[in-house]
């Protein structure tokens, strides 16, 4: 089945220790997104790629970076995680064609910062 896969599902890191979360997709979608979701809140968009074109949200901290080496993979790097970065990180994909820009979500990576 075509899908969005995130690894790992659970990540524990120490305060200030860099961490990388990964996302892969078999949908061949042009657009990939990274969201941060905290408990009982809506997902907050961090950035998105349209192919290799990177789009950063204005309020995304510099501590968060992303890489998309090819269509299938996208990485979220948190350079110096703080306690406030503990959250669920969601990857999503969509196709920009027409108006049917439904986003397909992965299962998320739950990040714990000790």
């Amino acid at each position: 089945d075509a899908m969005v896969i995130q690894n790992p599902r659970y990540q524990v890191t120490q305060f200030g220790k860099p961490v990388t979360l990964s996302c892969s997709q078999t949908l061949n979608h042009n657009v990939m997104y990274w969201y941060q979701q905290k408990s009982s809140q809506a997902p907050k968009l961090l950035f998105h790629y349209y192919d290799k074109d990177f789009n950063n949200e204005a309020d995304t901290p510099d501590n968060f970076q992303s890489r998309r080496p090819n269509t299938s993979f996208c990485f979220l790097d948190i350079r110096s995680p703080g306690l406030g970065d503990a959250a669920m990180y969601l990857c999503a994909t969509s196709t920009p064609l027409g108006l049917a820009r439904e986003q397909f979500f992965g299962p998320g990576t739950r990040l714990t910062v000790l």
């Binding site: 657009v31 809140q41 809506a42 969601l90 969509s94 920009p96 820009r101 986003q103 979500f105």
Partner: protein
């Protein structure tokens, strides 16, 4: 700025009660509309979506939603809820001019057995 409003942050119902969760958006152009559900400890799942055509859309698990363009609304309904419907429900909108989902704040639904 475009926005999506969900009127109730918390809803508590008894099993078999009818459900209606409100969602209004502020964008005047063409939109795609979505309801996502997040069960406790689980990831986001698409409940239903509206792109065009019949404004009454049916989703999974007996849910439906009606798009009323004149009211900028996309309310979610279910005639008889079950305990397993306990979850958080998010309304979201994509405008025709970009790729970003605009999210409502979510409604936490608790069904009492």
């Amino acid at each position: 700025a475009q926005s999506v409003s969900q009127h109730n942050h918390h809803v508590i119902l008894s099993e078999a009660a009818s459900l209606e969760l409100g969602c209004n958006y502020s964008y005047g152009g063409t939109v795609n509309l979505f309801w996502y559900v997040q069960y406790p400890g689980q990831h986001l799942q698409l409940l239903l979506k509206y792109f065009s055509g019949d404004p009454l859309v049916k989703g999974i698990k007996g849910f439906e939603a009606e798009f009323i363009k004149s009211k900028f609304s996309f309310n979610l309904r279910k005639p008889s809820v079950q305990w397993s419907d306990t979850a958080e429900y998010f309304c979201a909108v994509i405008q025709d001019s970009n790729y970003q989902l605009i999210w409502g704040a979510g409604t936490k639904l608790i069904i009492k057995p």
